[in-house]
Amino acid sequence: MKAAVVVFPGSNCDRDCAVAIERSTGAKVERVWHQESALPSGLDLIVLPGGFAYGDYLRCGAMASLSPVMRAVADAAERGVAVAGICNGFQVLCEAGMLPGALLRNAALKYVCTPIDLEVANGQTRFTAGYAGRREVTMTIGNGEGNFFADEETLDRLEGEGQVVFRYKANPNGSARAIAGIVSGRGNVLGMMPHPDRAFEEELGSTDGAILFQSVLASA
């Protein structure tokens, strides 16, 4: 099993993601600089990590979505490789048009870092199958622009097609329909604001993130 974590200038959870995947799955993880135009071969998972790529200037994820590596990421997604954008990575995926919607400023206009309970809205995806029917998981969030927005029609479609994967039990940032994470129509591209990469050991308060990485690699 093999995974890659993309590193943009300003990414700051790239190490966390690599460590979380290694510790929870034993997979080999390579870090790929954003200027690369090709990804390593034989990947089962590509992670776009959290952080503040390009300082989050202009719009979160906007400049990163134009990095050379993103073309290769989109191609891999086309081929069905699992792609997970976590926090800033979710923002990058939306900006790149690989996921619908956008992430706006939090309703309270403040950054918020807190442990949070999530409802597993779809336990059938390759990212959530490992929860084995569990409906509730816990992770932490840390974001200032995690307020998911899409027009009503898109939201209806996301819900109708089972593309909403995680929902906040208590909405921390004003996200439409309390959405915390979604997948693409084909189900292989995940975007989520909570951090599975900070929930992979008991000492960190939760191991629910480890299960997410385990299930995606089990599906590969």
């Binding site: 200038p9 300003g10 700051n12 959870c13 190490r15 966390d16 460590v19 979380a20 600089w33 959290g50 952080g51 503040f52 390009y54 300082g55 989050d56 200037y57 403040k110 950054y111 918020v112 870092c113 807190t114 442990p115 932490t140 840390g142 200032g144 951090h195 990469d197 900070r198 992979f200 000492e203 960190l204």
Partner: protein, 730 residues
């Protein structure tokens, strides 16, 4: 506008030099300096760079110890944490800038202290901040709080270093001068620590990071006609932090160091290029020559003076090993940083600056640092206030109300509103943070079983009442907070915030606080390895409460054996270790419930402190205690209430027979509260160690109570404790 022919002696005064200091410069040089040279002297001889008022007394701190690798004098202190690893840390103030522009002031404070740490080769792994604001009702306070907090979060969150602990006080004494003290803790290999001394002549001097603009140049120095064509365009501007640039700078710096190209390195902090170049050459005993035309510039037409005094952020200066410039170029390009070779080291012992083809400054280095003025400022030793006997302080008439008032007063209330704005979890090694209910932040040493505990402490009302005891107490409380999580205290950094040292009573506070701190450091084997002094914190002749903030680091060998104050279970006994006489002088109770700030602060018996702490730490390390809380503000009642709230279980305290208010609210030092299922066993152990101990209560139910005194539903207590700050900030 000042005429170009203005005498240098007059300009010197404008630059903040005293006239005898100016005379000294002329004697040393055997000539008058030019305006730029004068600027260089004024910066190097400023209080900030030369510590001229405090240096004599700072020498009283113990700075050595078996674990100290580098004490004060470098960018940050370095201690040995075993396994070939070192912890590098320092605290620094950004008080004045934060008052002027709270967001940018606080943000650049965080950025500056991080640079001090990664300049030495460490990856920053934790941030702390100690904040003092004015009275909540002061019209400026709310805006300052929200700006400072957003700035700290905005910078630290973006760079990706967790902010894990801190402290926040409010007092009218800070109405006109808030304090923003930021601390950074980093991790490095003990054999890969980098210093600022340039080792040899003939080496390239490389500038990298952001471009230089006209940021933060002192206003008074800017009016002079000598420097400007268009003075309006050249107004000094507030420094703006770019955390994105800082993140790139960290990665590039650590990569450059790993490449083996670095001979010496120094961040550009206060007085930017001046102090970094003077210090690198001066410490190395070499000379330095810079071509200012090569400096990456953000604006057109910058003068040499502006470039040398600019405080633009996110900039570094490195002396590279011979032939290693290509390594630098490759790395700077990868990270998208501006960079240039701007000069070289020489063997002249002088600093020579060239601009537009001319030598604009040529000074011997020695006087800049060695001859910096050293003042033995006159001081008056502060008078000791009287101890207050419990009988002379009224008990509350309504105990329920008293407890609720205390737990919701600005100093005691939960600071969730602010620390929820800090990323406390990035790097995925945080084991305890502001949300955890532990007396210190705890971060793992990445990949190891060990962890670092970090805390910042000072109780300004004690220091105000008795600077000597207050200084002792600040160190003791930091030591106690580390101990309470099970850590072995290693060393401290400090940030001495005071008023105008030219006033003998303020100087008296400084001297006494330093002496008290030094005594505690000696008694607790807790050396000072770095620090910062911030003086002149006063408005209209009214100084801030003296605030010597202590930042401390300790080591936990096995993070499986540590403590916090959450996890109290119904049926657990609460055992108090330590003696309670009921010290209410300068206590929170006295201030919040009696409206008085008089009396002597609780004395610290350092030998007892050490014995008690060693005992408690031993229990934690042996796995015999894991729910532990030290007693501080608000005494036993506050500590028990915090344990109950954190654990979500009620606590019934025993109602003391005599002076219950003094017993419950007294702030006697060297005390810990431990949850125990076997209180008799614990008390026997304490007795064997020669320590006082007793059962003071039991956990259970859903109320915080003491029979016959108070009985408050946990939910109501929580609402009071959690409610104050969000309501205030709304």
């Amino acid at each position: 506008m000042i005429a170009p022919a203005k005498p240098m002696a007059e300009l010197a005064l404008e630059y903040g030099l005293k006239s005898d200091e100016y005379d000294l410069i002329v004697r040393r040089l055997n000539r008058e300096p030019n305006a730029l040279e004068l600027g260089v002297f004024s910066v190097m001889w400023s209080e900030h760079c030369s510590y001229k008022s405090s240096r004599k007394h700072l020498a009283k701190f113990p700075t050595q110890g078996p674990k100290v690798i580098q004490g004060p004098g470098e960018n940050a202190g370095v201690v040995d944490i075993g396994d070939g690893q070192a912890c590098i840390f320092k605290m620094e103030s950004h008080n004045h800038p934060s008052f002027i522009e709270p967001y940018q002031g606080a943000a650049t404070g965080v950025g500056g202290i991080m640079r001090d740490v990664f300049t030495m080769g460490a990856r920053p792994i934790a941030l702390l901040n100690a904040l003092r604001f004015g009275d909540p009702s002061h019209p400026k306070t709310k805006r300052l709080v929200s700006g400072v907090v957003a700035g700290i979060g905005g910078y630290g969150n973006c760079v990706g270093v967790p902010t894990v602990a801190g402290e926040t006080n409010f007092h009218r004494g800070y109405d006109g001068n808030i304090l923003v003290n930021a601390m950074c803790v980093g991790l490095a290999d003990a054999d890969k620590i980098f210093y600022s001394a340039a080792p040899a002549p003939g080496l390239p001097v490389v500038y990298f990071g952001s471009k230089t603009g006209r940021d933060g140049i002192h206003g008074a120095t800017m009016a002079s006609a000598e420097f400007g064509e268009d003075s309006d365009e050249k107004r000094p501007t507030v420094q703006v932090g770019d955390p994105f640039a800082e993140k790139l700078l960290i990665e590039a710096t650590l990569e450059l160091m790993a490449s083996g190209a670095v001979a010496a390195i120094q961040d550009m902090g206060a007085a930017g290029l001046t102090s970094s170049s003077v210090e690198m050459a001066g410490k190395g005993g070499v000379g330095i020559e810079l071509d200012l035309d090569a400096v990456p510039q953000r604006e057109e037409g910058m003068s040499a003076y502006e470039m040398m005094l600019s405080e633009s952020q996110e900039r570094m200066l490195a002396v590279l090993k011979p032939g290693r410039e290509p390594d630098g170029r490759r790395i700077f390009e990868k990270w998208g940083l501006d960079a240039a070779t701007i000069g070289h080291t020489t063997d002249t012992g002088r600093i020579v600056l060239k601009h537009r083809g001319q030598v604009v400054c040529d000074l011997p280095l020695a006087p800049l640092s060695d001859d910096a003025p050293l003042y033995d400022r006159p001081y008056v030793t502060p008078a000791k206030p009287p101890r207050l006997a419990p009988a002379h302080i009224p008990a509350p008439s309504d105990w329920n109300a008293a407890i609720l008032t205390l737990m919701s007063c600005p100093d005691m209330a939960s600071k969730r509103w602010l620390w929820e704005q800090y990323d406390r979890h990035v790097m995925a090694d945080t084991l305890a943070d502001s949300a955890t209910a532990a007396d210190a932040g705890v971060v793992r040493v990445h990949g190891a079983r060990k962890a670092l505990a970090v805390t910042s402490d000072c109780t300004p009302r004690y220091v105000q009442a008795d600077p000597y005891e207050g200084g002792k107490q600040a160190v003791a409380e930091a030591w106690r907070n580390l101990t309470a999580v099970g850590a072995e205290p290693i060393a401290i950094t400090d940030n001495l915030n005071f008023g105008n040292p030219e006033r003998p009573e303020i100087m008296g506070q400084i001297v006494a606080a330093i002496e008290g701190m030094a005594e505690a450091c000696r008694a607790l084997d807790f050396p000072v390895v770095s620090g910062n002094v911030s003086l002149y914190n006063e408005t209209n002749g009214v100084a801030i409460p003296p605030t010597p903030t202590v930042g401390a680091v300790g080591l936990i060998q096995d993070y499986g054996r540590r403590a916090g104050f959450k996890g109290l279970k119904a049926g657990d006994a609460l055992v108090l270790i330590g003696e309670t006489r009921g010290e209410l002088g300068a206590s929170l109770y006295l201030r919040e419930l009696q409206g008085r700030e008089d009396g002597a602060p609780p004395p610290v018996d350092l030998a007892l402190e050490r014995r008690t702490g060693d005992f408690v730490r031993g229990l934690i390390q042996a796995g015999a205690a894991s729910v532990v809380h030290d007693l501080s503000d608000g005494g036993l009642a506050a500590a028990a209430a915090e344990m109950a709230l954190a654990s979500g279980v009620g606590v019934a305290l025993n109602a003391p027979a005599r002076d219950p208010h003094a017993q419950l609210f007294g702030e006697d030092q060297a005390r810990y509260l431990i949850a125990s299922a076997d209180p008799d066993g614990l008390i026997a152990k304490a007795k064997a160690a020669g320590l006082a101990s007793e059962v003071v209560g039991v956990a259970g139910g859903e109320a915080f109570l003491a029979e016959g005194l108070f009985n408050i539903a946990l939910a109501a207590l929580r609402e009071a404790h959690e409610g104050w700050m969000p309501a205030y900030m709304a």
